[in-house]
Each structure stands twice: as structure tokens, then as C-alpha cells.
């Protein structure tokens, strides 16, 4: 793991991305709670260490297919807060131009970013296909994607992991085990305590990582990515975390015990990383405050920009169903 230790500059960069992710997410939550959003909204609160730790381990030429809890990964790949808020608010300036809701449809191949669909397990074989295209063309690139604990119950999860192993594909799957699939706790989804143990059934490594520790997430992901790049095949990484809000903004998640949320709030990935950086003497409070301020300004700008952007023209509703 020490091969993948981070420099001070890298750690500060990671902190910035985590803070930007949390700031944007908080702002969106507030906006929706004020009734100013469009449609639904899915908070990623608590997933910052996973989306940033994994996304930061990718090389520019690698391709990633994040899902709705991976706001940080979209930001890292270069999808700007302006474009993200535009999509959230159904504006024509978002990556889906008002075609798809919230973070769905936020793909952009120029950023090596593949969008997801609500049928989350269906994105997993697509990301494997991206990895298979690298094999086909003999390219030293890696494809990575994410699913939650819920999607690991779908048959296509098994189909994809079996094929990834069979083809020795340069493929990394991040399972974000946030303990709830909508309202259903893990205990009602599976009998095994660790999803990572399923990897043994495919003859590939299954790694468990503390999903709220960004440095740990980065280290295991970087190792898996470089292993895949060197022809070592796929890896399944189970990042254990907690979904800190409801499934979507409408959901108060009353079914989650408050003690469990309190326990995980103490493991807040953003503030804990911040405290660690200060404790290590890598950064002082002034620098932290500067980063926070920068993030606030960026997010405010993005929201104002998106609100000022035009809605799509209804006359375009039938445009772009087919590629020319």
C-alpha cells in the first residue's frame, strides 16, 4: 500500500474535491428542500471518500461509469458544477440537455465518463464492455464502475463478474455497501456479511475497505487499477459506508435507526480527513477555510448559472432519438 502513498499536494487536492462534493450536495439538498428543485434529487452524503478516493486513482485515459452516489467522481472527471446543476434543474445546458433526470444521463465520452440508468445493475456489464474494448484494441486502459449493495442481488452482477474473470478484463468494480437498498437493510438482502467474499466464486480478488477513509480507498483502488492495467484482471472492492440520507430527497429514511446514523456521522469522511490533515500538520485552519470558501463560491456560481439557463425548447422533444 505504501507504493500508493500520497504527497501533501495530492492530499490537499483530494480534500478540495471532497469538500466541493459535499458543498454541492448540501446546496442541492437545501435547494430541493426549499421546493426549488425539479423532480427528484439523490444525495450522496457520506460517499465522498469512495467517489473521490476511487476516481482519483484513475488515469485520464481510463473510463469510469459512476452512479447517483458518485458526484465526486463526476466532478473529478471534469463535469463542472455548472453542468451538474444544469442537469439537476432540467436545463438545456446539462449533459443530458434536459433528457434525463438528476445525475442520470450525465455521461460525456470526451471526459471518459459513461452515464448510468436507473436499473443500476445494467451498467455493470456495460462498463465491462468498455474494458473488453481495451482488450480488443490492446490498449493499456482500465474501466471502473460502481454499484450499491442492492444491485449485487441481481443476476447480471453474477453474469458480469463471471465474464470479467473469464476474459481477464481490465475492470474494477466498486461495491458501495451503504447498508440499505432503499428501505431494505443488508440483513434482508443477503446472508453473507461481506459482499467481497463473493469474488472468490469468480477467482478474482475481493477487497474490503473502510469506505469513509479516502486514503485507504485510494490505495486499494490504485492497486486494483494498476493490476488491471498490467494484465492482472478484474478486482471487486467492497467499500463499507453508510447512506446518510434517504434513498432520494423525498425519503426521510425513518426506517434507519438514529443510533446507526449517529455512529456513522462520527465517521464523516470529509471532516475526518480534514482533521487528519490538520493533525498531521499538513495544513492549517486558514488553508482549510480558504478551500471551503472556494467551494462555496464555485457552487453558488454554478447554481446561479443553472437557474439562469434556458429550459429546453419543447419543439426539440423528438430530436436526437437516433444517432445520424
Amino acid at each position: 500500500m505504501s507504493d500508493y502513498s500520497l504527497t501533501r499536494d495530492q492530499k490537499l487536492e483530494i480534500y478540495y474535491w471532497m469538500r466541493l462534493t459535499r458543498t454541492l450536495d448540501d446546496r442541492a439538498v437545501a435547494h430541493w428542500k426549499q421546493g426549488r428543485g425539479v423532480g427528484g434529487m439523490f444525495s450522496q452524503r457520506g460517499h465522498e471518500a469512495i467517489s473521490i478516493g476511487t476516481g482519483y486513482a484513475l488515469a485520464t485515459e481510463d473510463v469510469v461509469a459512476p452512479m447517483h452516489r458518485d458526484l465526486g467522481c463526476y466532478l473529478l472527471r471534469g463535469l463542472t458544477p455548472r453542468r451538474i446543476f444544469s442537469n439537476l434543474l432540467g436545463r438545456s445546458t446539462g449533459p443530458s440537455q434536459g433528457r434525463d433526470a438528476n445525475m442520470h444521463g450525465s455521461g460525456d465520452l470526451s471526459l471518459n465518463l459513461v452515464g448510468f440508468i436507473s436499473h443500476l445493475p445494467q451498467s455493470v456489464p456495460v462498463a465491462l464492455g468498455v474494458a473488453m474494448s481495451f482488450l480488443y484494441r490492446n490498449e493499456r486502459r482500465v474501466a471502473m464502475t460502481y454499484i450499491g449493495d442492492g444491485s449485487t442481488s441481481a443476476g447480471v452482477f453474477h453474469e458480469t463478474m463471471n465474464m470479467a474473470s473469464l476474459f481477464n478484463a481490465p475492470f474494477v468494480l466498486i461495491v458501495e455497501n451503504n447498508q440499505y437498498a432503499y428501505s431494505t437493510p443488508l440483513s434482508q438482502q443477503m446472508k453473507v456479511p461481506d459482499i467481497a467474499t463473493r469474488a472468490a466464486g469468480y477467482g478474482i480478488p475481493g477487497i474490503i475497505v473502510e469506505g469513509n477513509d479516502v486514503e485507504a480507498v485510494y490505495a486499494v483502488t490504485k492497486a486494483a487499477i494498476e493490476r488491471a492495467r498490467d494484465g492482472g484482471g478484474p478486482t471487486l472492492i467492497e467499500a463499507k459506508t453508510m447512506r446518510m440520507m434517504g434513498h432520494a430527497i423525498h425519503d426521510g429514511a425513518e426506517y434507519v435507526p438514529r443510533e446507526l446514523l449517529a455512529e456513522w456521522e462520527a465517521k464523516n469522511p470529509v471532516t475526518n480527513f480534514e482533521a487528519r490533515l490538520i493533525a498531521q500538520g499538513m495544513v492549517d485552519q486558514v488553508e482549510i477555510d480558504e478551500i471551503k470558501h472556494r467551494c462555496e463560491i464555485e457552487v453558488t456560481d454554478a447554481l446561479e448559472y443553472a437557474e439562469a439557463c434556458p429550459m429546453p425548447d419543447a419543439a426539440t422533444v423528438e430530436d436526437g432519438v437516433y444517432a445520424p
Binding site: S96, G107, P125, V130, A143, E159, T160, N162, M163, A323
Partner: protein, 344 residues
Amino acid sequence: MSTVPANFGFTEAEQIAETDRNLTYIAAISEALREEMQRDPNVFVMGEDIAGPFGGAFKVTKGFSEEFGDRRVLNMPMAELGFVGAASGMALMGLRPVIEMQFADFISTPFDSIVQYAATNYYRWGAAIPWVIRAPSDGGLRSGPFHSQNPEAWFVHTPGLKVVAPGTPADAKGLLIAAIRDNNPVIYFESKPLYRSQKGYVPPGDYVVPIGQAALARMGADLSIITYGAQVRESLTAADRLAADGINAEVLDLRTLKPLDTEAILATARKTGKVLVVHSANQLVGVGAEVAAIIAEQAFEWLDAPIHRLGGLDVPVPFSPPLEDAYRPSAQKIYQIARELAAF
């Protein structure tokens, strides 16, 4: 002669082009695939049992592994949902997968990946998914409920897909080439009953039948039979018998089911004023219902008789010969309905 069984006679394509272009329907499919793979290194085939000397359940890709190597002839485990999803990922990266669905009946297994992922992707975020699924469909072959189906209506109903269904060897080649070059997901329904029993002239080399264009298989003035796939042959057989009775039937082969060639449909309806729509798929909410609705909406005043439809019954495709024959349209049934329609 000794090389013919091993390679379907196509390793020396030029020789064939100069001598005999009277090919079977299935040979035309193989030829289109082979020529597209020779032309474009991004085109490859994937599916169950298609590689190696076996060459697929129907031998469409026999000899392909030898010619193109394992990299471009990808055998898949029995996981249609997984590998159609993977094909979408490969297509996103600019490759052009041609997926062999061993039987069209099995296409319900990857349904999610087709209608939810691939079909919506370009509209949702502008990234094209240019794959083709070859779906061996239709029955009359005593193959039972799970090797005889015609599930095209599901996909015609799905925005973002294109659907083709060739009824002749030439169209089998030309539409497959068009499908491979199209930048959208295309479902190519090939008709199993035509595979080795239907022969016809197939143009050599680069032959494209544009998606979205129907073709008049026979000219006539008394009534129109609008059909596609294996029912084109049945309709032409019926038309010959009708001609002997002094009834001149026009036969319109739709060839593409999505997008439908509305102009050609309306033109023949307006010309004859009497329309029979025929397909092997069950009639209820089938493609024929849409064809009939188009005519009723846009050519009503030209009609001299109610539009008739003839499709499969609303039952699973039965196995035993008398049951399957009762289920499916045939030249005889088409002939009988057309006689009544002509006399209306």
C-alpha cells in the same frame, strides 16, 4: 468442392461472384458478415457457440475464427443479459458488435439491456451504441414455444431502436450491411424457415439496402398484401394462385419494421383500395395493427373494403404439426382471405 462444407463456400468470394450468385438466405447473411468484418476492423461477432469449428447453432459464422481470429469472434457464456450489456460498452467505445442471439426467443433475457440501456442512450446523453443483434426468428419448423417466436413488436414499440426483417437473400445481405453501418442499435430478425430453402440472386460486394425502405415484391391492382419476413414467400405463393383465379395481388415487403415506410404502405393501399396485412407474429398488437392504423388514418377514403389482418393466434407457438399449422399464417390461409377480400 472439398472446401465447401468447411467454409460455406465463401473463402474465395471473388470466384463465387463470377460464377454463381444464387445464394441461400443464410449464405447471404454469412457473406454480409464476412465482408463487413473484412472491410472494418471495428466489426466483430459475439454470441453463444459461434467460434471455432462449430461456427454457431446455424453455422452462420463457420470458418470465421480461422479467418478473423479469436479476438473478433467472441464466444460468450450463457449470459445474454451480461453480454448484450457488454456489447453496449464496446459499442460506446466505437466498436461495432454483431451479436448472435442464438434464437430470437432468447432475446427476452437481455430485454432490460436493450430497451432500457441501449435504446435510450443516444437520447439521454448523446453517445451512440452501434450494435446489431441478429435474432433467428419464426417457426413452421416444429421447434416448439421457445424456438419459434417472432418478438419484433416489443422492439418496434421501443423508441431508439431500429428493427429490420429481410424476406429475401438479397435483402438479408443488404439489410445486414446497412444495420452494421448504422450508428444505432438495430435488431435484425432473420427468418429461420428461409435459411436454406430460400435462394436468390445476391449482388456481390458492397450491397446496401437502406433501412426504412419497403419493396414491392409483386405488382398488382386488385388488392395489397403487406407483409415481411418469411410471410413474403407465403404471400407470393398465394399471389400466384390468386393470379390463376384472375386476381392480381400486389405484395409489399416492408423489410424494415422501424421506421416503417409509411409512404410505400399508403401508396399501395391507395392504389388497390383493399389491404391484407400478414405476419407470422401473433396478430394482437402486432406490427400489422400499426400498419392498419396508418392506412385507416391516412388513406381511409381510398379503401373499398375493411382492412384485414392475418397473424399468429394469441397462443404460445405450439409444437405438434397440426397445432403449429393452425397457429401460423400460410400461403393457403392468405389465399383464402385474399379471395374474400377481392370479392368484397
